[in-house]
Amino acid sequence: MLEVRHASKIYGSGPARVAALNDVSLRVEDGDFVAITGPSGSGKSTLLNVIGGLEKLTGGQVILDGRRIDDLSENALVDIRRKKIAYVFQQYHLIPSLTALENVLLPLTFGASNGHAEQRAMELLRRVGLEKRAGHKPSQLSGGEQQRVAIARSLVNGCTLILADEPTGNVDQKTGIEVLQLFEQVNRDGVSIIMVTHSPEIAHRARRIVSLRDGEVVSAG
């Protein structure tokens, strides 16, 4: 279970000071699928970043499975990324020199690999419908295909929480729905998902919607 307690994040100081998050609290139970929405500048991406430890909080806490993770050192965060939290980005962020299969394998290259790495990666590619594209480089894949590779990559470590930042932002509507279906399927298998999106349509497919405005929670479903 993930819990955000009274999180605040302030950029700059003095008159230039901007509060990106202002006393935000949030609970995400295991197996939940939460959509965070809001207009741009509402702080939704910042919230996702502080949950994943990509940015430090100015105040408040982030607790994952009973353990504070907002004040962890870089090395301890590496451990969290290898075991618990995975990311899916709007820009897919695949490594261009590696094939689809190798991109899926990459987290296992850095973390502990159990020897069946390639098999597991191939199985995940099959699950996202790309087993025939395993040897292709990202430049040879469409946007939707790249995002599916990224989702397969987020699953390879067996993480329990996926943080997705506008995962459908760069693909057409039809592909967006496919990506979303994939998330739903993953979620049914027990992986919690927190997804940032500005699109109400996409957000409605999640189990819960949390709306932010000016760094504050305006509604939580």
Binding site: R81, I95, S97, L106, T109, F110
Partner: protein, 396 residues
Amino acid sequence: MKLLQVVFKDALRRKRRVLYTALGVAIGVAAFVAVLTVARAGEDRVYAEIDKYGPNLMVTPAVSDLDLQLGDLRLGTLAIGDNYFAEEKLLEVRRIADDAIREALDIQDEGDIATIAPKLYVDTELQGTSAMVVGIDPEQERLVKTWWIVSEGRYVEQADEAVLGARASASLRLGVGDTLLLGGEQTTVVGVLGETGSNDDYHVFVPLPTVQRLFAREGLVSAADIRALCSACPAVDIADMINEEIPGVRAVAVRQIAETEMNLVNKVNRFMITLAGITLIVGAFGVVNTMISSVHERVRDIGIMKAVGASRRQIVRMFVYEAIGVGVIGGLLGYAAGTLLSYVIGPLIFDDLAVAYELQYLGPALGLAVLVAAVASVYPAFRASQIRVAESLRSL
């Protein structure tokens, strides 16, 4: 998939950048290999000369060299004195040389020890061209000039026979069996020597008594070579004693000349190695520079790798792997370029130096290149490991 494979695939995609970085290493390594190869060849040549002439002394008539100077300007030297000395002085020379060698090697034997080869140079005209006729003691001369090879015919045995240096044979158009008119007497050419690369190639060798008689220089010689049997023999001491005790002659140990030359070679080498070192340092800064820009180019990739679980140490390791690759490529290129370069600069620094490539420098060249690349990658790797995921991914 191993970390090394990730690095390799990435490097393949950035071939030009990797090659460019390797060139930074290659330039410094090339300078080193070139300098060492040339220095080695230069030293080898001096050592070869020492080996060849090392145990030898040269005895010449004592002439005083008057330095002609105008202010700081040297106009050359003017030799004052005779061109000949009495042959009997060689007896004293022998006594001194033999005594010194006996003492040095603890020999009791009473016989002759040193080989003394007297020579009488006469500049004369043969077949219409000017030629240098050299009177020699055939047996002794052969013992001193161990590198002489008779390429045609045979060596001089009789008083009315001559053997020609290779160039003399060509320029005089004389071969084995021809006769030449020497001071009014017929002399038969019985042999031609192989090329030695020395003045000997231009000379006509005839037994000493014949030359003395034909050119009216009985009892006189121009010079004598002394071979003191062993390289451990005290050639320099013998030369000193001869100079002290026998008036009218001057003795020089060839080793002294060679050592002077060696000193010069060493100075030149030290200078060149310093320059090569500077080149290497400049090259290393080039490597740091290109590596930092390659860190900038890969900010996003590094951010992604960290986001999927790469630790700082793994990021550093990836850069170290790349540096090793760059070092190996740079080392190979540098070795090849340095060897080629040495063929060009070798003859410029030491006249007509024959350069041989030194395979033994390949290992050290690779080692040096890898070391330089590894050291140069430390800072860029550190910078890469400090990249923050959020910033690196937002920057795009």
